[in-house]
C-alpha cells in the first residue's frame, strides 16, 4: 500500500471516529434532554399538584370556617362573594386541566378520577356557597352530606395518591436523569477514549512504518555514501519508500560497477606505472652498471698501464735486492775467512754494517715482493677473467675455501681461532662457474669474516666466541650462498662503497681494497649473479651471493 493511500485511509478513519463521536454526542444530548424533559414535566406536575393542594385546602378551610362560625350572613349569598368563590374553584379546575395535559398515560386514570371527584366537590361547594345565608339548612346539609365526604376523598385520598405518584415520578425521573447523565457521560468518554486510542494506534503504526523505512533509507544512504556500494536497502512492500529504496539500490549498483571499472583502470594504470618504474629502475641500474663498468674499465686500463710500467722496474728492484742479499752473504763469508787479519774493532764494525745492509736488502726484497703481488693483482683485475666455466657443486667449494681462509689466518697468527658452522643444502644443484674465480670470491669474503671476528675477539677477550656461519640454499632459479660472521658489523654509511676498488677499512698494509671489488666483478659481471650485504652494527655481517642456475635468466 502506498504512503498516500495509507495516509488517506488514516485520515478517513479519523474522520469516521470524529463522526462516531459526533453521533454519540448528539445521541447523549438527546437522551439527556429527554430525561430532563421528563424530570421537568414531573416537577411541573408536582408543583401543580402542590398548587391544587394548597388552593383546595384554602377553599376547604374557608368553607369549614364559614360553616362553623356564622349562621346568617349576606356573605354566602353575596353575588360578588359567590363569583369570587367560583373563580377560586375554576382556578383549581384549570390547574387540574393543566395537570391532565401534562399527565403521562399511566397516571392519567388517577388524574381523571381525581378530576371527577373534584368536579363533584366543586359542584357541592357551589351549592353550599350559593345557599349559605339564604337556605342555611340546605347549605349545611349539602356541606355535611356531600361536600365533606368528597373533601375527604379528594384531599385525603385522591390528592395524596397523586402527590405520592408524582413524588415517585419525580424521584424516578431524577434517578433516570442521573443514570442517563452517567451513562451518556461514560459512553461519550469511552467512545472518545477508544477513538483517541485508535487514532494514536494508527498514528503510531503509520509513523512507525514511515520511520522504519526512512531509517533504513538513511542508514543505507550513509553506507552507500561511505563507499559500501555492495549494500542493498531491504524494504518490502510497494510504497514510495520501497520505490526509493529500489532507486537507491540501482544507484548503488551503478556506482559499484563504475567504481569497479575505475578500480580496474587504476590497477592497469598502476601496473603500467610499476612496469615503467621497473623499466626506469632497470635502465638506471644498467646505467649505473655501465658507469661502474666504464669506471672499472678505465681504472683497469689505467691500472694495467701503471702496473705494466711499474712491473719492469719492480722486477729490477726485487731481482737486484735478491742478488744484493746474496752478495751480502758472500761478503760476510769472505770476511769470516779473513777474520784473523782484521782488527776486531773493524771486524765488529763491518759485521754491524753487513747486518744492517742485509736487513735493508731483505726489506727491499720483502716490500718489492709485496709490490709485485699488488701489481699482479692489479693486472689480474684489469685483464678480466676468462677461465672456463664448468658445472660445479658449490657446497664443497665454499666449505674448502672458508677453511682455507681460517687456516691462512691461523698460519699468520697462532692465537687466532674461530668456530665454523656449516648449514649446507644437500639438494643444492650444480651451477656453471669459473671455479678459480668463484674460489677467490669465497676466499676474499671468508678472509674478511675471519678478520672481523678476530678483531672483535681481540677487543672483547674471552667473553666472546668468534663464529663464521656458512649456509647454502637451493632456490627455484638460483643457488644462494651465505657467509656470516658475528663481528662488529658494517656501518650503514659505508655499505654503498664496499664494492669500490681500493676501498678498505683495514689498517694500511693489511689490505689492498681490491678483494670485494674483484668479488663483485666476478659475481655480477662475469656470472650474471648478485651479491649484497646484510648487517647489524655490533652483531653480525652477512654476504649473500646468488648465482643463477644454468637454464634460468640472470638474477
Amino acid at each position: 500500500m502506498t504512503i498516500r493511500r495509507r495516509l488517506l485511509l488514516s485520515f478517513l478513519l479519523i474522520l469516521v471516529l470524529f463522526a462516531v463521536n459526533l453521533v454519540i454526542f448528539y445521541w447523549s444530548n438527546q437522551k439527556r434532554q429527554t430525561s430532563v424533559e421528563a424530570l421537568r414535566r414531573a416537577i411541573s406536575r408536582q408543583i401543580l399538584i402542590s398548587g391544587v393542594n394548597q388552593n383546595l385546602n384554602d377553599i376547604q378551610k374557608q368553607v369549614t370556617l364559614l360553616s362553623e362560625i356564622t349562621t346568617e350572613t349576606p356573605a354566602g349569598g353575596d353575588a360578588a362573594g359567590v363569583a369570587q368563590f367560583k373563580a377560586q374553584l375554576e382556578k383549581v379546575e384549570n390547574q387540574i386541566g393543566e395537570l391532565q395535559s401534562l399527565s403521562e398515560p399511566e397516571t392519567r386514570k388517577n388524574i381523571e378520577a381525581f378530576a371527577d371527584a373534584y368536579r363533584k366537590l366543586s359542584a357541592s361547594w357551589r351549592i353550599f356557597y350559593e345557599n349559605f345565608g339564604i337556605n342555611q339548612t340546605k347549605a349545611i346539609t349539602e356541606l355535611a352530606v356531600r361536600a365533606e365526604p368528597l373533601t375527604q376523598e379528594v384531599l385525603q385520598t385522591r390528592l395524596p395518591q397523586l402527590q405520592a405518584d408524582e413524588n415517585a415520578r419525580v424521584d424516578s425521573a431524577s434517578v433516570n436523569f442521573y443514570q442517563v447523565a452517567r451513562l451518556t457521560n461514560r459512553i461519550t468518554l469511552m467512545i472518545f477514549a477508544i477513538s483517541a486510542a485508535v487514532a494514536v494506534g494508527v498514528a503510531v503504526i503509520v509513523s512507525e512504518q514511515l520511520t522504519r523505512g526512512l531509517t533504513r533509507l538513511k542508514v543505507g544512504a550513509a553506507l552507500i555514501g561511505s563507499g559500501d556500494f555492495g549494500h542493498r536497502i531491504e524494504l518490502t512492500g510497494n510504497d514510495e519508500l520501497t520505490e526509493l529504496a529500489k532507486a537507491f539500490n540501482e544507484m548503488s549498483a551503478k556506482l559499484y560497477r563504475a567504481r569497479h571499472e575505475l578500480t580496474l583502470a587504476n590497477e592497469q594504470e598502476r601496473m603500467k606505472s610499476e612496469q615503467l618504474e621497473t623499466v626506469v629502475d632497470q635502465l638506471r641500474k644498467a646505467q649505473d652498471q655501465l658507469v661502474v663498468q666504464q669506471k672499472l674499465a678505465s681504472l683497469g686500463s689505467l691500472t694495467a698501464g701503471i702496473a705494466h710500467e711499474i712491473k719492469n722496474p719492480l722486477n729490477f728492484v726485487t731481482n737486484f735486492s735478491e742478488v744484493s742479499a746474496g752478495l751480502v752473504d758472500e761478503l760476510r763469508n769472505s770476511i769470516k775467512e779473513q777474520n784473523e787479519r782484521i782488527d776486531p774493532k773493524d771486524r765488529q764494525y763491518i759485521e754491524d754494517i753487513l747486518r744492517d745492509l742485509h736487513q735493508n736488502v731483505s726489506k727491499i726484497q720483502e716490500h718489492g715482493k709485496r709490490a709485485d703481488g699488488i701489481v699482479r693483482n692489479m693486472l689480474m683485475h684489469s685483464r678480466g677473467h676468462g677461465g672456463e666455466r664448468q658445472m660445479t657443486n658449490l657446497n664443497p667449494l665454499v666449505s674448502e675455501y672458508v677453511k682455507l681462509a681460517y687456516h691462512g689466518m691461523r698460519a699468520q697468527n697462532t692465537n687466532f681461532n674461530v668456530a665454523i658452522q656449516e648449514d649446507l643444502d644437500s639438494t643444492l644443484e650444480p651451477v656453471k662457474v669459473v671455479v678459480h674465480d668463484i674460489s677467490r670470491v669465497f676466499l676474499n669474503i671468508a678472509n674478511n669474516a675471519c678478520y672481523a671476528a678476530y678483531e672483535k675477539k681481540k677487543r672483547l677477550g674471552d667473553g666472546f666466541s668468534p663464529t663464521i656461519s656458512v649456509s647454502t640454499r637451493n632456490l627455484s632459479s638460483a643457488v644462494e650462498i651465505r657467509i656470516k660472521d658475528n663481528g662488529d658489523g658494517i656501518p650503514e654509511s659505508i655499505r654503498p662503497r664496499l664494492f669500490e676498488p681500493f676501498f678498505t677499512t683495514k689498517p694500511t698494509g693489511s689490505g689492498t681494497g681490491l678483494g670485494l671489488s674483484m668479488s663483485y666483478e666476478i659475481i655480477v659481471q662475469q656470472h650474471n649473479g648478485a651479491i649484497r650485504v646484510e648487517s647489524e652494527i655490533g652483531q653480525y655481517a652477512e654476504f649473500v651471493i646468488m648465482l643463477p642456475k644454468p637454464n634460468s635468466k640472470a638474477t
Binding site: 370556617l65 362560625i69 349562621t71 365526604p149 373533601t151 385525603q156
Partner: protein, 157 residues
C-alpha cells in the same frame, strides 16, 4: 385569601347577633340522628366530640356537629359546662384546628332549634344540643353519663 378574611369578619359579627336562645333553667338535651348507633355518651366522649377529637361514630359514619350560634343558651351551656371555654377561646380553638388541618370539618352553626331538628333528620351522624323541652318525640336523645335531661345530676343545664 383577602376575600376569605372579609367573609370571616362578616360571619363573626353576624354570629354574635344570632337569634333565639333557650330559656334559663331548662336542661340541654344531646340529640342525634337516628342512624347514630349510640344511646349513651360519657362526659369525656362528649367533650372529645365537641373538640373534634372524635370524628366518627363508626367506621363509615362521620360525626357532624351541629351547634347553636353564639349568644344562644344551648351554646353557652355547652361551652361553660363541657368545654369550660369562652366563646372566643372556642372560636380560636377551631380556627387553629382547621388551619392546622387537624380536622376536615368543623361545628356547623345553626340559627334555631328547628333548623337543628331539620338537619338532624337530613344529615346522617349529626349531633345537636337543644332545649330538652323542645325536642320532638321522633328524635333520638342520648343519655349523658347515663342521665337524660330532667334527671337529677344531669350536667347540661
Amino acid at each position: 385569601m383577602k376575600a376569605f378574611g372579609i367573609t370571616l369578619i362578616i360571619v363573626l359579627i353576624s354570629g354574635s347577633i344570632a337569634g333565639w336562645t333557650a330559656p334559663a333553667g331548662s336542661d340541654i338535651a344531646v340529640v342525634v340522628s337516628r342512624d347514630v348507633p349510640i344511646d349513651d355518651l360519657s362526659f369525656s366522649e362528649l367533650r372529645k366530640i365537641l373538640l373534634g377529637d372524635r370524628q366518627y361514630w363508626s367506621s363509615n359514619l362521620r360525626v357532624t356537629l351541629l351547634i347553636r350560634a353564639p349568644a344562644a343558651r344551648e351554646r353557652e351551656v355547652i361551652l361553660r359546662n363541657v368545654l369550660e371555654m369562652t366563646e372566643a377561646q372556642y372560636r380560636q380553638y377551631w380556627i387553629g384546628k382547621v388551619f392546622r388541618a387537624e380536622s376536615s370539618s368543623a361545628p356547623k352553626s345553626i340559627a334555631t332549634n328547628e333548623m337543628a331538628f331539620s338537619l338532624l333528620n337530613s344529615i346522617p351522624g349529626s349531633i345537636a344540643f337543644v332545649n330538652a323541652s323542645q325536642v320532638p318525640k321522633d328524635l333520638k336523645v342520648v343519655r349523658l353519663g347515663g342521665l337524660l335531661p330532667g334527671d337529677k345530676g344531669y350536667p347540661l343545664n
